[in-house]
Symmetry: C2
Subunit: 553 residues, 2 copies
C-alpha cells in the first residue's frame, strides 16, 4: 500500500455515493462499487467500505455545508437490497498494515464526528434510514446520525458483531456512542456487542439502539415525513445559495514537498522531519461578506483552511515515518488579523460561520494528529489569533528572542485575538488556553488583557504562551538538539505520551473515542488473537474460528 | 512466573519497608531488599520495586487505616543514600510476560489510588519527602502523595524518563497525575517527560512538579515541621486505638479452589470459569459499634470485604485463563441487611466509616477487573445493599424466576438499600445505578422508592436491575450457552470491550488512568519497539539504544 492516497476526490466521479436534493432535504445513498476499492486484493461487497469510500463521504459532508447550505436534513440510505452497510471491509483490514488500520480508523472517526458537528454547529441534521442489515461500521455510521429509523422486517437489524466475529472492537466510536450518546444500559450493551446476529424490531427501540421502528410498508413514506418535519423545525436559517469548492491548487514534488497557494510542505526524510509553513495573506481582507462570498473558496481564510487540512491528511497517511512536524508561519500579522476580524465581525453570516467552524475542525485535526508537533516562532512570522492557536495545539514551541544577525525579517511576535478565548474548543470542550492553564486559570484572564498586542518573546514567555524563548546564540543548537532527540525516540512511546498529555481536564464522548477506544483498539490490533496467522481477522470467511490464547491480561 | 502470588504479607516480616510512629505522624521508609525480589533473575537495586514490594506497600496503607487510626500524616521517605526510588525494576519488566506487566501496573495503580483515598475519605495524608533521585515509578509514588517536598542538592531530582530511556510510558498514572492532578502546563510536561535527567531545584517547583523545594541543610527539620503542621490542621478526628487485621482464614485446594470463612472460590479450568460465592452472615448483627469493635476483624462485614478482596487479587494474578467469573451469593437477605444497617446507622463512627470505605475500594476493584463478570441471582441468594451493588458492577446478570423443581431454597430476590444510592461511587464519580440508567435517570428515583423491598424476578426486571430473568425451563440452557459463548471469545477483545462499556458518563483522573493510560501502555507493551529483541526494554543496561521501527501509527 504505497501509492499516494489523495483526500481530494472529484465530486463528478464519486464511485460509491449518490446524491439527490429535494429542497431542504438531501438523500445520500450509499451504493459502494465492489470493484472500486482503493487498493487491490479485496472486493467491497455488501456496501462494505475502505478508506476510499470514506474519503468520498468526508468530501460530501464538507460540501454539504459549503455548497448546499439550503439543506437542513440529510437522509442516509442504502442503494443495495437487504443490506444497509456491512461495515469496514474485513479482507482489507486483514491485509492492511497496523499503521494503515489505525490511520483508517482515525479518519473514519473524524468523519463520523463531522455528522454530529453539522447538526451542532449548523443545524444540518443526519437521519439514518436503515433497511436491511446494518452491522459493525454500518451501525456506527447510523450511530453518528442523530436519528435512526429502522424498518421492521425479517432481514433488517442493527449489530456490532466485531467482538464475537472478528475479535476486535467496533473501531469507529461504536462502543462509546452506544453507552454515551444513546445511553444504552451497559448490561444490554454487553449482550448486544456479544451477538453476531444483532437486534431487530421493537427490542432495538426498547434498548435505545434506534429511535423508531416502522412497519416496512410505511417505511419510505415515514422517512420522507420525518425529514420534512425535521426540516420544518430546523434551527438552520435559510440560505439560498452556497459556494463551490473548486479543486485545490497544489503541486507534489519528487522529494515529498507539496506546494499549495498558502501552505508549503517540505520534508527531510533522513531527519524524519516535516516543515509545514503557513503563509499570511498577501491581499487585503475583503471589505465585507459580500466581497468575501464573491471570492468564494478563493477567500484567503477558507483557502488556507482547506490547504492546511489537506496537507495534514496527506502527511498523516503518506509520510508515516516523518514523526516530527515543525509548524511555521510567515507573513504580516496585522493583515492576518484583518482577514480574521471580518469573520468574527460577521459570525452570524452563514459563510463566515461555516469558515470559522471549519477552522474548529481543522484545529481538532491537529490535536489528534499522532506526530510530535512543534511550532517555531521565527522572525517574520504571523502567529495571530487562529494561527496563534497552533502554538497551544502543538506539543511545544520555540520563539526567537531579540534580533538575529543577518535576519532582516520583522521581529517575532505573538498576537492573541478573540479566536483564542472561545470559538475553537478542543475535544474536551475547553479552549486550548484553558487546557494549557488548568493549574493557573488566572493566567487565561491575564492573557485576555493582552488581546491585540503584538507580544515579543519576553512578554509571550512571561504569559506562558510559548515553551521556550531563545536568542541568536542558542537558537540553532537548541532546535537541532531537540530535533535529533525527538527523531531518536520510539514513535510508539511518543504516540502514547502525546495522547495522554494533550487532553488534560474534562473528558467528552470525543476524547473517549480518540483517547480510550482508539488505544484499546490499537492494542487489540497488535495482538495475535486478532491479527496473528490464526487470529480472527485472518481467518474471517474461512469458516474456521480464530484460535485464541485464552490468557486474560 | 508460575508460583502462587500471595497478597497477604506478614507485617512482622516486611522485607522492603520500615515503619515508625510518632503520635499522629507515621514515617514510612522505603528500603528495598535487593535480594528480596518476588521472582528470580533480577536484583532490586536503587530502591526499585517489583510486585512483591508493592504488595507490602498496599498492606501497609490498608493497616494504617484500620490499625493506626491515630495517624494523620504519613511521611514517605527513602532509607537509601542519594536515591528516593528508581521506579519499577527494569529487568523484572524486561523478563515478565505481557500479562504480568499489565497486572503489575493495575495493582500498583490501585495502590497509588489508596494514598489519595486515605486523604479524601479519612483525612490521612501522605507526604513525599524526596531526597535523592526520584525517577519513573519513584516519582509516581511521590505524585500519589498529596504533598511533595524536594531537597535542593545536586543529586535530588524528579523525573519521568520512561519515554526516552525505555520506550514505554510511565505506567502508574504519571502522565495523568502530571497533567490532571498537578496541572503542569502540557508543553512543560512534554519537555519533562522527554528528559532522562529530570528536573531539580526551583524549576521543579515553578513547573508545579513538587510543592516545596528546601535547602538540604533544613530539609529534615522542615519535613518534621510540615508533618506536625498538617497533623495539627488535619480534619481527621482523634481515635485512640485501632483494631488488628489478623491473618485470613483460607485454604487453597489442589483443584484451584479457595475456601475462606465467607467466600468460596471454585474453578473449572477446562471451562475457564470461576464461581465466586459470597455467603451471608450466620450470626446476628452486633448490637452496636462497641460490640462490632470488640469483634474487630472478625466482624462479618469486614471479614467478608477482606476475604472477597483477597480472592479477587488471587484470581486476577494466579488464574489468568479463567476469563469468566460467576458471582453468587447465598444467605439470609434480611440478616445481611441488619449487618449493613449497623454501619450506616453509625457512619460517623471511625470503624464503621473505614469498613464502608473499604467496601468502596473493593467494589472499585471489581469494576476494573479485566474478566467477564456475571452475577447469578439464584434462589437462596442474598443480593441486598452492598451485595446488590455487585449486580450493577458486573457485565450482566441472570435471575431465577418462579419456583424451580426440586429447589427448596427461598425464592430469589433483590433488595436495594441506601448502599445503592450514594456511598459507593464508581471511578466516574457516579453511583453504579446512575451509570446504569444514564439514559433514563427517572429509573433511579423509581428504584429508590423500592428501598427495603425484597423484589422478586419480575419486579427486579421491571425496574431494570437485572439483565435477564429465566424460569426453570430456560435457566440451565441459557446459562450454559452464555458460558460457552463467553469462553470462546477472544480475551483481548473482551478486555477492550468491557473497559469501554463499564464506565459510561463523566470521566475522572481515575477513569483516565485505568481507561486511557492503561490502554496506551498495553499497546506499547506489545510493540517491538519496546519489547522486541531489539526493543528498549530488552536492551536496557546494555549501553545500546533500542532499534526502532520509525513509522508513526
Amino acid at each position: 500500500m504505497t501509492k499516494r492516497i489523495d483526500f481530494q476526490p472529484d465530486p463528478s466521479a464519486y464511485k460509491h455515493w449518490k446524491l439527490s436534493y429535494e429542497g431542504p432535504v438531501a438523500y445520500l445513498t450509499m451504493d459502494v462499487d465492489e470493484d472500486g476499492g482503493l487498493f487491490d486484493g479485496y472486493k467491497l461487497k455488501l456496501n462494505s467500505y475502505d478508506l476510499g469510500v470514506d474519503i468520498e463521504l468526508a468530501d460530501i459532508v464538507q460540501r454539504m455545508r459549503f455548497e448546499h447550505p439550503e439543506v437542513k436534513v440529510v437522509v442516509m440510505q442504502s442503494g443495495k437490497d437487504r443490506v444497509f452497510c456491512a461495515g469496514a471491509n474485513i479482507r482489507m483490514l486483514g491485509g492492511a498494515a497496523h499503521s494503515h488500520k489505525v490511520n483508517f480508523c482515525k479518519f473514519t472517526n473524524e468523519t463520523r464526528n463531522t455528522f454530529e458537528a453539522a447538526m451542532a454547529d449548523s443545524g444540518q441534521q443526519y437521519i439514518a434510514a436503515v433497511k436491511g442489515s446494518c452491522a459493525g461500521g454500518g451501525y456506527e455510521l447510523a450511530l453518528a446520525c442523530n436519528h435512526i429509523m429502522l424498518t421492521d422486517d425479517s432481514s433488517s437489524s442493527v449489530a456490532l458483531p466485531e467482538v464475537p466475529l472478528l475479535a476486535v472492537l467496533p473501531g469507529t466510536g461504536g462502543l462509546t456512542r452506544v453507552t454515551d450518546k444513546r445511553k444504552v444500559r451497559r448490561d444490554r450493551a454487553d449482550v448486544f456487542c456479544a451477538m453476531e446476529e444483532g437486534i431487530r424490531g421493537k427490542r432495538a427501540k426498547e434498548w435505545r439502539l434506534v429511535d423508531e421502528v416502522i412497519p416496512n410498508s410505511k417505511f419510505d413514506d415515514t422517512v420522507k415525513e420525518r425529514a420534512a418535519e425535521f426540516a420544518a423545525n430546523s434551527p438552520k436559517p435559510d440560505v439560498a445559495q452556497g459556494i463551490a469548492l473548486t479543486p485545490l491548487n497544489r503541486t507534489f514534488g519528487e522529494d515529498g514537498s507539496v506546494t499549495y497557494s498558502t501552505v508549503e510542505v517540505a520534508i527531510d526524510r533522513d531527519a524524519r522531519k516535516v516543515t509545514l509553513t503557513l503563509k499570511g495573506p498577501e491581499e487585503d481582507a475583503p471589505t465585507d461578506m459580500d466581497a468575501f462570498t464573491a471570492q468564494g473558496d478563493q477567500a484567503y481564510m477558507l483557502r488556507l483552511a482547506r490547504e492546511f487540512d489537506d496537507a495534514i491528511l496527506h502527511l498523516r497517511l503518506n509520510e508515516m515515518e516523518a514523526g516530527l512536524w515543525e509548524i511555521q508561519t510567515q507573513g504580516d500579522p496585522e493583515k492576518f488579523a484583518q482577514h480574521e476580524a471580518l469573520l468574527f465581525a460577521n459570525k452570524d453570516h452563514w459563510l463566515a460561520k461555516e469558515v470559522l467552524q471549519y477552522w474548529k475542525r481543522v484545529l481538532k485535526r491537529v490535536d489528534v494528529t499522532s506526530r510530535s508537533l512543534v511550532a517555531l516562532v521565527e522572525h517574520g512570522s504571523c502567529y495571530t489569533g487562529i494561527l496563534a492557536e497552533l502554538l497551544f495545539a502543538v506539543d511545544r514551541s520555540y520563539m526567537m528572542e531579540d534580533e538575529f544577525e543577518g535576519d532582516n525579517r520583522p521581529i517575532a511576535t505573538v498576537t492573541l485575538t478573540e479566536a483564542n478565548f472561545g470559538p475553537f474548543p478542543m475535544a474536551n470542550d475547553l479552549t486550548r488556553l484553558e487546557t494549557r492553564f488548568l493549574g493557573e486559570p488566572e493566567t487565561v484572564d491575564k492573557a485576555r488583557e493582552s488581546i491585540g498586542e503584538a507580544l515579543e518573546a519576553e512578554e509571550a514567555d512571561e504569559l506562558g504562551l510559548v515553551t521556550m524563548i531563545l536568542d541568536d546564540i542558542d537558537w540553532e543548537d537548541e532546535i537541532r538538539i531537540f530535533e535529533e532527540e525527538r527523531a531518536s525516540f520510539s514513535p510508539d512511546a511518543m504516540t502514547g505520551m502525546e495522547a495522554n498529555l494533550r487532553f488534560a481536564g474534562p473528558e467528552t464522548m470525543e476524547t473517549r473515542i480518540f483517547g480510550r477506544l482508539t488505544a484499546w483498539q490499537n492494542w487489540i490490533f497488535n495482538r495475535p488473537n486478532a491479527v496473528g496467522a490464526e487470529g480472527a481477522l485472518q481467518r474471517y470467511g474461512t469458516g474456521i474460528r480464530g484460535d485464541y490464547n485464552m490468557e486474560r491480561v
